[in-house]
């Protein structure tokens, strides 16, 4: 996957199979859609996942708890983990969204520029390097994160609950990247 494919531009996503037509969706499906997030009404990704509305309802609630839940690991760090994994998995769409969120939260365009230019092994400050290393290792199949990555996170000041928050974000993007990459593809908006 060439680094040149990655962008922070706003992209669309198109499904490879027919999504649910909202004009014929059930009232219950529309409730699940609105619970999923502010952009779900206009996103083909959510329209497609609405084929299994009970699964989408639980997935969206879980996603929102992990990525936006209050306290614990700062949201910017969760977005960094999600971005590193999305780059590694080659998910151009997920990367574009979560790199933008990281930049908004951390005010650090330079970190994303480095990751896009040099890959997930790019030179970063120690705390961000430790987060990127753990995220990249946990993203592997099978996961390769070990005691060394945990030690580095603790040395960077993360508590065990911070580490669990980061691990949840990376695990969530193992899920999200796979759906985005295997059910459709990004398009220029």
């Amino acid at each position: 996957m060439s680094n040149r494919n990655f962008t922070t531009d706003v992209l669309d996503w198109e499904a490879w199979i027919t999504p649910v037509d909202l004009s014929t969706a059930t009232p219950e499906q529309l409730v699940v859609l609105d619970e999923s997030g502010p952009h779900a009404r206009t996103s083909q990704y959510y329209h497609l996942l609405l084929h299994d509305a009970p699964a989408l309802r639980e997935r969206s609630a879980l996603f929102n708890a992990i990525m936006y839940g209050p306290g614990g690991l700062p949201r910017a760090d969760r977005e960094l983990g999600a971005t590193v994994e999305s780059i590694l998995n080659g998910c151009v769409y997920c990367t574009s969204v979560h790199a933008r969120f990281f930049i908004q939260l951390a005010k650090r365009q330079d970190v994303i520029d480095r990751l896009f230019a040099d890959g997930v092994g790019a030179e970063l400050e120690p705390r961000q390097r430790a987060i990127a290393d753990f995220s990249a290792k946990l993203a592997q199949t099978p996961p390769q994160a070990g005691a060394a990555e945990i030690r580095a996170l603790r040395s960077a000041g993360l508590s065990d609950s911070d580490i669990a928050d980061l691990a949840d974000a990376v695990a969530m993007f193992a899920w999200a990247n796979r759906l985005m990459l295997t059910l459709g593809e990004p398009k220029r908006a």
Partner: protein, 168 residues
């Protein structure tokens, strides 16, 4: 005995009430509860539709095995074996050649599970057409994809909790 556990991650990791990992998970009650309810809607759906319970557990078993996640693989193997005809399917899911001895439809689902698990950026519309050619509907393809991707999530949650507990 994990197959009907109140919380599958607690069961496969042997997390007991009051233990450090139990307290760690209790900090995020919504994430903990929605992880379990995601499992429940994918593996104990009120209406399984066209994707049978044995097919669901067989796919999850394959994904867990591809992750070398032995405890979760044992969980899904046990749930598969509880289903009518599941024992034969479990026996056929050999690590190297999972397509041997199963129906073409099950083989197509297991092949897709391997692709989505190990090389998701290599997927194309042709891979979904291969599922449609075996009679899978759009609804079934979405549920199949959710099952594969959910197990990829579940494996990483369990692995990282175990790692936190083991790392001095």
């Amino acid at each position: 005995m994990t197959r009907f556990a109140a919380d599958v991650i607690d069961a496969v990791l042997g997390i007991s009430e009051g233990s450090p990992l139990h307290q760690l998970r209790a900090r995020r009650p919504e994430a903990r509860a929605r992880t379990q309810s995601s499992y429940a809607v994918l593996f104990n759906p009120p209406d399984p539709g066209g994707l049978s319970p044995p097919e669901r557990f067989a796919v999850a078993l394959r994904v867990a095995e591809l992750h070398d996640a032995s405890s979760l693989a044992a969980h899904y193997r046990a749930r598969l074996a509880d289903e009518a005809g599941g024992g034969a399917l479990a026996a056929a899911i050999d690590y190297d050649a999972p397509s041997n001895g199963v129906t073409p439809r099950a083989a197509a689902m297991l092949r897709h599970a391997e692709l989505v698990t190990t090389n998701p950026s290599g997927a194309s519309p042709l891979d979904l057409e291969a599922l449609e050619a075996q009679g899978l509907t759009a609804e079934e393809i979405v549920t199949l994809s959710q099952i594969i991707a959910f197990v990829a999530y579940q494996v990483r949650v369990a692995a990282s909790l175990a790692l936190i507990a083991e790392s001095p």
